[in-house]
């Protein structure tokens, strides 16, 4: 049933064919027109566009930058990277794009900064995109919200569990809009899969499996000269000092800094932030979470597993799954992944519309647009800060269990590890001064 070679019961049925051509699909796919009153929460025309700053101008930034650059409802006004040359290069690209507007007296140019506090000190910026490595997400997001900016923060939202609760508190206490960059929530297939699970279309869930893949081990790296113009100490920020090496700071989906626990949670953070997030959504656990985390190998455990209070197991199966996530229930199975992968057994489930009385989940067709709409309307976005925090918590607790080599029992209400004060220490990390506090 789970062999990647075996054709699914719905093989040959493209979801695009059966859903997009369907009436329910057409309605679901219809781009919801914005009803957001830009005249209230932006400024007067023509600059009622939102002013956007980007902090972290590396790998993950590029897609967001292009998308925002292509929008008429906002303007990139500031870029920031500890490697200043990256920011200036992107500034030049932005200025070239906006070049036609330079003579109208409105356009005020794009500024490049090396340090986030310089960008955050500006009072004309409405929102910031945080695209740094994970260890800088929380400090910058926290400062950004306190300085009056709404935040789109790349996933996973935090480096530690405790950082997440701080960000939730700050967002609420500052009245800010916070979107976590777990954009799978804004993809139709994932929403549909979550709705099928929520509405019991595959019966009682018996197992969930997901594929996160694996990173190579973190390397013990010798010291290299720090490139000119790169503030490496700032890049390290709150993490323990380590010698510079290009592989340590490299933005690379298959390696680079993502391999080091100092800067993230490896695959649990990198892909878990997406797939655990969809599983949380499907289970209706956005404000809660699992109760037990079992590392791979513990008493012969074949897979890393986390367990919800009802006994449901989520297994991390890093190869052999036919899609990114597999939900198995007493009446059927759902396979869902990116690029519109959505297969079901029985196959007709994928195209079946929801009834009015069934649970309909938050609809967002575009993660960036959803954020920008919420910046204007002050509603909570689809991957609100609490949601991002709860998902990141699962990433972190799985990583902690793996590192300490024993299961963790978790109280998702109190957000405490039960009966293991040593494991509890891992919920946060000391921060290197002068970056020593959030």
């Amino acid at each position: 049933m789970n062999s990647p070679e075996k054709k699914s019961p719905s093989a040959g049925l493209s979801r695009r064919t059966i859903v997009k051509q369907g009436l329910a699909g057409i309605i679901a796919y219809a781009v919801a027109p914005t009803f957001v009153p830009s005249s209230l929460f932006g400024r007067t025309a023509p600059s009622n566009r939102l002013n956007i700053g980007f902090i972290g101008n590396g790998l993950q930034f590029a897609g967001h930058f292009s998308a925002v650059l292509g929008r008429d409802d906002c303007r990139v006004v500031a870029l920031c990277d500890v490697m200043l040359a990256k920011a200036t290069k992107r500034r030049d690209e932005a200025e070239k794009t906006y070049g036609a507007e330079q003579s109208d007296g409105v356009y005020r140019g794009v500024k490049a900064y090396q340090y986030s506090e310089e960008l955050l000190a500006r009072d004309d910026i409405d929102a910031v995109w945080i695209c740094t490595p994970d260890h800088w997400h929380a400090p910058i997001a926290n400062a950004a919200m306190k300085s009056g900016k709404d935040v789109y923060c790349e996933k996973p939202m935090t480096l530690t569990q405790r950082e997440g609760r701080v960000l939730v508190d700050t967002a609420r206490r500052c009245g800010r809009v916070f979107q976590t960059g777990s954009q799978q929530r804004s993809e139709y297939s994932f929403r549909k899969a979550a709705e099928m699970v929520r509405n019991g279309w595959i019966g009682d869930l018996t197992r969930i499996r997901t594929n996160l893949g694996e990173f190579p081990p973190a390397l013990a790296l010798p010291e290299q000269p720090i490139p000119a113009g790169f503030d490496y100490d700032r890049w390290l920020g709150p993490t323990p000092w380590r010698p510079y090496h290009e592989k340590r700071v490299e933005g690379n989906y298959g390696g680079g800094w993502r391999c080091f626990y100092e800067y993230g949670a490896r695959k649990n953070g990198d892909w878990g932030a997406h797939h655990f997030d969809i599983i949380q959504w499907a289970l209706g656990m956005d404000h809660s979470g699992p109760v037990e985390f079992i590392p791979k190998g513990w008493q012969g455990a074949q897979y890393q597993t986390h367990v919800y209070a009802n006994g449901l197991h989520v297994e991390r199966v890093d190869s052999g799954l036919k899609a990114m996530i597999e939900f198995t229930g007493s009446k059927g199975t759902i396979w869902v992944g990116r690029n519109e992968v959505l297969e079901t057994d029985p196959p007709e489930l994928a195209a079946r519309p929801l009834r009015g009385e069934e649970t309909h989940l938050y609809v967002s067709e575009n993660h960036q647009s959803n954020f920008l709409d919420c910046v204007r309307s002050r509603q909570r976005p689809i991957a609100d800060v609490e949601i991002g925090h709860r998902t990141a918590t699962i990433c972190h607790l799985n990583a902690i269990a793996e590192r300490i080599g024993r299961p963790i029992h978790w109280d998702p209400v109190k957000e405490e590890i039960i009966g293991d004060e040593i494991a509890s220490r891992w919920l946060d990390r000391p921060r290197r001064a002068p970056y020593g506090t959030l």
Partner: protein
Amino acid sequence: MCSKKFLRHSALPCCAAALVLAAGCASPSASPPAPDQPAATAAAATPAAMLKSLDYSGNQTALEAIDRAIAAAGTDRTKLSALITELVEILKQADATFTAQQAAAQRLGQFLPPLKADDVALTTVEHLLADERLVNVARLALEPVPGEATDAAFLRTFGETTGGVRVALIQSIGNRRIAKAVPQLAPLLKDSDEPTASAAAKALGQIGTAEALAALERAPNPSARTVIEARLACGWSLASPSDGVAAFQRVLTDAHTSAAYRVLALRGVLGRDPQSAPATILTTLAGDDLAAKRVALEAISALPANAIVAPLAAKLSTFDAPTQAAAIGALAAFGDAAAVPAVSKAIADSDPAVRAAALAAIGKLPGTREGALELAQFLVTATGDEAKLARQSFARLNGPGVNDAILATAAAGDAKLRVVMLEAVATRNLTEAFPLLWKIRADPDATVRAAALRSLGELAPATDQAAVLAWMISATDNQEIARAQRALASISLRNHDEAARDRLVVDAVDHGTAEVQLRLLPVLTRLSSAAAAECAGRLACLSDAKVALAATDTLSRWPERNALPVLITTAEKATLDEARAAAIKGAIGFIERKRETPAKESPDDVARLLTIAKDLETRKSLLILLGRGTSDTALTLAEKLQSDPALAAEARDAALSIRVNRVWPPIITASASADQASRMVDGNAKTAWSVPATAGQWIQVDCKQARPIHRITLDQTGRVGDYPGTVEVFVTDDLSNPGAARATASGRRDRTVIDLPAGIRGRYVIVKSTAKRGGGAGNWSVTELQID
């Protein structure tokens, strides 16, 4: 001697045994010591001796051994105590490397228990807190350790330090929320060293007691950024909510407070005084302070529905339009019935933003029979964005009587309203409507019949294939026929039995009249299986010109490549010359649309078509396609055709292109995202080169040899909107002098095909964007770049 049995029975402490195992009994595959490591490492006298020489690179076995030992110890305090002794020893040793001390401290921080003042671990690490080089190392060990003795160590050391060390210790004191530190921190708010003063303010905010707040309010500049942020933090953490409110009020009324912080203070008041929050929110929304409105709107969601929904709904119409629109969104999030009357009323508001917000919200609120009828009536005349929003809301409207109202209204009455309701049958999965839908087949109104067919197409099971086929064959209205065709295809595709999906339709085609065959051709296209393609191929070979040409045309526009062999067979075997010619043209179109260059398939298809095609221009086109290949067969054919005087030039070009293809891929560079450039020739339509669609972006292809260039195709499959503005194409052998552009083209959605004049040859091809795309910037992406 290194067996597990020995270790289990050894008198050695477990952790030390684990370290010895790692150090002295390493497996043969373990890394050797790095050449620059001290000899002691290699000798591995003791675990501590091993670790104390640790470096960031090279042999990490000592560190790995420690970590294994810690994991093995679990929560066993006896085993951990032994490890603590080992790790503290490293911190004591002056000749231990920084790396070793950092590693030891980091691990101590993970499991040191609460300490007593005279614990060796505490006295050892406390000593390091004042060391500028090691203060952060010491903080790794001590900051996570609870207990008053550790607090006292920080306070003792902090009083003796200055500069960066003091800032580091203040940060630890703040993180540990040491309330006893307030008297020592308060004077530092006046410190001339700005980082010290800021760190003190932040720490006082973290401590968050009344004493800390008092110190902050007595600061020389209580409205300074760091001080006021700390005061706000205290407002949230003070035990007494009324004290918190008072703290926020003092910020609100401070004339020196910036507007941004007054807003944060307002949010604090709303949060700590939920009783008065609804009234404060309503007052704020009625005002004109935009920043305050933003915060008030966000604060709505933090309140219980019974406190805010009714008062907000009652006041809704008194707000300005943009505020109403945003407030409607906030009301919808509660899903509370008390909001329904106000939101329903707003659907008829004169402001389009308010109407749109209400239409989006109404589906999230509890529904009623009357509400469903009103929304359906709205949909009868609605258009554009408002219609989309209303449809989305109608599809999810939930409440008593809603489904019954839909079914009853769909059965009889005004035809336009019935059509709306029949659409809702489909979008709401109302399978209980099946008897009604079949009954509608006899309805006199064709628009209603078509609507019923649409719903059947959405919902009917595969067992209803035959019934829908019969309805389609008997249908008289064009819209009804079209709906029936789509319904039949959709129902067939839902069949669990993949082999049976097309059987009924194929049988009906093979045994039907010409009229039935023509009606079923669109269905075959939608099924697009190999059997369906072969069925269409059989029609293309018939002598009935109308059917044969329609079938050939259908196959030429077939969505799957399984039509290509059928078209080639048709070109060879069709009864009618017109059908054969159309089949050749259709087959060429299929081959041209192939994504990869050089072509991965055999040249047999082109060779077969060259044998069939009589028309000279067609044969020349086929030779260009032959030039995409790499195989010996393709090259042999191209060389053979050089003997044909009419095709000699094209055949020579094809042969040259094939030889150049054999050294594929070309060297490809670009103006930006150069690291992605090779994705344009990787044969993978899922990878792309992508840059902003602005003027000046370029791609340069070095084919390594001069070759004929007939056509450039920029394919952006899957990124249909990522097309360029205007592009120019240069072809040259001399990059320093590329000459004039050989062709200019405007970008097209999905694929941009640029035909070049005849006779162009060159080694280098440059595609340069000369104008940004209209309608916003966006991206220019190329998944595959083809050169013919």
